[in-house]
Symmetry: C2
Subunit: 288 residues, 2 copies
């Protein structure tokens, strides 16, 4: 039997354990200017009040970790990413997931973040492995590993599994322990390929079975281009958690109650205490 | 490898195949006076317009089969059940699932229903097996078998599996083929027992693995007494379909889009054609 890992993510004062014994971990996705014009404009102006609002509303809605992405065309992420991380850390004690394709920006942000953040992300491309893993190692962070490589995103779950293995192996070689790797099996659009859901679900099962590592999901891609995306996203999140996913980068306002319901249905919430408490928190927020 | 069964249910002119190759089968639950005071009152008065409305709205919302239950205290089901079945059959060509604990009423209804309806239900109690199975055999119907017996509803999936086996065996002895048995693994309230979801999901997997029969779910029990029951019901239906359930007695207006989303996510809907078509049907209904 494979051993299931515990991935520990820390802010200065708070610790989150990603595993199947604790509640499913919700990584708030909203501090990301991609497709959010208002956030992009505020970041350009270095007006961080809007960011502070996104911090508070996501934490209140149940985010355990906050993703921070400041990729605005024309802005220097090496300066902006650490600055925004500082703003977020002043507003909350929740740990961070720093999200950038720019290795220098990742290093600059990691230099100002105490504890043990999550880095989003490395993948199986040679250039990515060589650039990102040493930075993760240097700062003692954990990292999300995407199952794609120089040949793109494979269609077969087995090939995605082997890329996961390559990332784990290469990380191990420079001293990053396996429990600090969270594999993201990648989610393609099901409107374009009706097998996309199955491929991701099978990859989750294969990677859990083979390596016991934690699994992250960027769940909303699945429904791109289809009507009532929320219904599809809800259903997919449930299937993925049942298959073995342990955290997701998602909208806590829209999907946290579904996540708590799935925890409950999988027998991870005695007397439905967490579900009921979370329902009341959301209901109070909607009223206020 | 076990062979997965196809259960064929027919009206006079329409055939529904329950299996995992075809879309998940939706059995509309709303013609049932339990907890529906208005329907109970209309049935007492023999005013069937309300029933006709429930037929049409459920079929428009995607019901493949309609459950018909007329259990109103003080009314004679032996007369009322066949009468209401006739009303339903005049309004739609969708096959029926006749739902009664009264064997005489089942026989009286089966006598007026052409094709091959589903009978809801037999269970592992001696009295039930002896009373219901011969009627099912006589009229060539299919039957839902509940995994409970004279000792009640077992907590262990393995015991529920063995009751399923007993029902299949006893049915076989009088000539009812295994593909005409649809096993219902029973769903208890998760607010009272946090293992209730897992027990049902494991029973589904065990019964599918052992016998290959189709699995029905009465999905809404799971959330009894909890807030936002719909979120829990949606999530549970997804998990149950992924585990192997092939039909559910449910509210098509509220849950059919979730069901179509799960079919899609499990790779059973090329180009999302069925999902999109169903979304448009529901949207048009809401507008009209």
């Amino acid at each position: 039997m494979v051993t299931y890992m515990k991935t520990i993510i820390k802010s200065e004062t708070k610790e989150i354990v990603i595993d199947t014994e604790d509640p499913f971990t919700i990584i708030g996705e909203k501090i990301n200017p991609t497709g959010r014009k208002k956030l992009a404009a505020q970041l350009k102006e270095r007006n961080f009040d809007y960011v502070r609002g996104l911090v508070l509303e996501q934490v209140e809605a149940g985010a355990d970790i906050l993703d921070v992405n400041v990729g605005v065309p024309g802005e220097d992420e090496v300066v902006l990413l650490p600055d925004v991380c500082k703003v977020v850390m002043e507003a909350t004690d929740v740990p961070l997931c720093i999200d950038s394709a720019n290795t220098e920006a990742l290093a600059a942000a990691l230099a100002v973040i105490p504890g043990k953040p999550l880095v989003n992300s490395v993948n199986g491309e040679e250039a990515s492995l060589k650039a990102v893993l040493p930075v993760v190692k240097e700062f003692g962070a954990a990292v999300i590993g995407l199952t794609m490589d120089d040949d793109g995103i494979p269609h077969e779950p087995e090939t995605r599994l082997s890329i996961a293995g390559k990332i784990i192996e290469r990380a191990g070689k420079i001293g990053i322990p396996i429990e600090d790797i969270v594999i993201d099996p990648l989610v393609m659009t099901i409107g374009a390929d009706s097998k996309a859901g199955r491929v991701t679900l099978q990859t989750i099962e294969l990677v859990r079975e083979e390596f016991g590592v934690n699994i992250n999901l960027g769940a909303s891609n699945i429904s791109f281009g289809l009507p009532d995306r929320h219904t599809i996203n809800q259903a997919f999140l449930g299937l993925a958690i049942a298959a073995g996913a342990t955290c997701a980068i998602t909208d806590p306002m829209r999907l946290s109650l579904t996540i708590r319901a799935v925890d409950l249905l999988l027998g991870r919430d005695d007397y439905a205490g967490r579900y009921i408490k979370h329902y009341r928190t959301l209901a109070a927020e909607i009223e206020s």
